[in-house]
Symmetry: C2
Subunit: 241 residues, 2 copies
Amino acid sequence: MNSNFIHTYMSVDCVVFGFDYDNRLNILLVKRRLNDDSEEKQSKLPGSLIFSNEDVDESAQRVLFELTGIKKMVLKQFRCFADPNRASNPDDIKWMSKEYKPDIDRIITVAYLSLCKIDHKINSLKYVTGDWCPIDKIPALPFDHNKIINESLIEIRKWIESDFSIVFELLPKKFTIRQLYQLYSALSEKRIDKKNFHKKISSFNYIVPLEEIESNVAHRAARYYKFDSKIFKKSNNKLLK
Amino acid sequence: MNSNFIHTYMSVDCVVFGFDYDNRLNILLVKRRLNDDSEEKQSKLPGSLIFSNEDVDESAQRVLFELTGIKKMVLKQFRCFADPNRASNPDDIKWMSKEYKPDIDRIITVAYLSLCKIDHKINSLKYVTGDWCPIDKIPALPFDHNKIINESLIEIRKWIESDFSIVFELLPKKFTIRQLYQLYSALSEKRIDKKNFHKKISSFNYIVPLEEIESNVAHRAARYYKFDSKIFKKSNNKLLK
């Protein structure tokens, strides 16, 4: 018998991606207050300890609902973060003691990816402020939240490689090819050749041109497109079939 | 403050895949003994509670090393299983009390995929028996281990769709196209057209024919091939580049 088995608290943390009108990839952050007697706030990923009657997926759904007021959001569990020292910063210990309970020595967290159309109205039940933060402007976050975000970027790229329809969860219902290109570029590690991209995209029959074009734009008005998930499901070709 | 936050034990469980000489997909199972006074044994997935100084990935590496004597095995964390009732079967509670400690009310587990060439010599440090079990002959297992295996099958399929080189982790160093076809068929959800498969495969320059052919076989001796990971890395074409 080994008495060194951990007995631990568990949490979930959610990395919610959104794509904004300036064509940047954003992550939804919330604020935590470090002291009751100070107004100083620090950004963090939305998350929660899990309850004794919850499975982790339920817990993540609850966090997202409390955060956005949206009941069914795309949700993908992507990794368990369990570094023994991930919750050992004195500020984090102090905050956990205030937010949850004293003497929490270790928390293991399960991280989730979620996607939210940025024009979706967010009605948080729990937080005063939920702020979209561009991924190149993420500040220093508590715990290992910066590491979780870095890994979530790798994960969302893999996700899109394996299921291209994911990008349309982030775009408005009608979008221009320029928006699609900019989102795909923001999600990719490398520079995407524009010409090649247009050629590929025009071969995808599930990206359907609409009659409508942009209005009130400085540049040449572009055509709007929509994503047809039914055609996508039929045409989605795997390596070997 | 909510006193219903769980305080839980954490474990890792490993689904180790192997591909046998009868061209079936197998999973490595170990035996647990339910009672000291009985010889009756039950199969289970190899796993362990995690120690207080361990990250989950380290814990999974330890389990695999204790299981196989192999130091660096391919390892992929794939999902956290946290159903509140997953460890509530009386037999499981009894076994945990003997194996670990009494009064364990809940265990959350992080499941891993691993791949092992079936001709790899296995020297277990911990188990008397580690048995390869064909995936269509998996018996009723304790906890939610059957569910973990079912989900691991979905996961390994996705993994191979996103990284075809994974199949070569399961094949011997030199293999026939028939073996590759049978492994790929065993891993796929649907019937693979043989002709189509051969055509595809022959277009992959990272599958390199050798001078050697099979010997001592009843059917027509087939040529051996090897996998060239360097060529694969170069030719690995994603959706858009």
